[in-house]
Amino acid sequence: MYETTYHRPSSIDEAAALFSKGKEAKYLAGGHTLIPVMKQRLASPSDVIDLGKIKELIGVEPSGDGIVVKAATTHYDVATSDTVKKALPALAYLASLIGDPAVRHRGTIGGSLANNDPAADYPAAVLATGATVKTNKRTIAADEFFKGLFSTALEDGEIITAVSFPVQAKAGYAKFPHPASRFALTGVFVAKTPSGDVRVAATGASQNGVMRIPAIEAALKANWSAGALDGVSISADGLLSDIHGSADYRANLIKVMAQRAVTAAG
């Protein structure tokens, strides 16, 4: 790891001010992406600004039509939150599948979203539920937030403060994890709003990161059942192909994971 300067601000405003003063500053939340990348010398921030201890960034709250998960809340705290388990149990389940227990004790929802790894779990939940990403400057709709591999709508220095998840009539997540890393070889989140609208998002599958799957959305809107997807075929165009799975294999996984997610959602 190259030399760096560590800062621990106590407020969002102080963090943003430190960022603008740093030459090549980076925010650190759980550190479970940034620190490994710094150890490999693929990142060499002049300043590391720790958001993990900022109280206003931690916690889960019920809101009128859903829940608000603050950005520095760990995966473990989301997975075990009674508020999340009651309002959006599929999100708690998703959080319980990330990495391993020690990783879940450190990693945060805000860090995961800001990084937008193409195989991360949270982006699927945010996109499928039509959640809203709140930052220190604005609110960003899920459809506008994800911009391809490791890129988002966040501007330089912008801090995710919370994610607002609207309540769903039904929601489920299923993932085929990579057996070593536990990242999603493919993961699919299915969600049905109280008004009957259906949104489905897949992670780990596409060359462009998380994406919605219109063919599955249409089939589930007509008939919310795993069987409704039997006849749906998913194109392998634009899907990832690597030593872990071909594009065709991932195309099939999208369908199978969607069926399992629907079954889990009930």
Binding site: M1, T5, P36, K39, D50, D100, P101, A102, H105
Partner: protein, 161 residues
Amino acid sequence: MSTVKLTVNGKAVSADVEDRTLLVHLLRENLNLTGTHIGCDTSQCGACTVHIDGRAVKSCTVLAAQAAGSNVTTIEGIARGDELHPMQAAFRDNHGLQCGFCTPGMIMASIDIVHRYGGKLDEATVRHELEGNICRCTGYHNIVKSVLDAAGRMKVAQAAE
């Protein structure tokens, strides 16, 4: 350089370290607590597992400065004098280790598992929860047996307190 102050195994400690220092290096090199091992250095193997404020974490993926002000427990801090922690005793009795390299991390992760699940542990849960700790000797079988045995002993120990 920064001065990092934290509590390790119940004792207040302070160390002057570079900001890029990892917690595992502070423990091993500044405090000479070499029971915490470095296996992979890529957050995979779990040999470096310690508890920060009661939660198992991989100390190779935490900056020392991030742990400032926290309570850290390492493998050196769990026995009571000469009396092994029930998890250590269970590993010994069940032949839960061979070369022993992964054992400190296994034990710290396993204590955390028992704390989170209480007595409601079964074999499948233990295997699933140990996903973040890699052992290349035992085939895990006796490690799982050790954790299940220790879960019973820790329950008894708790009830006695």
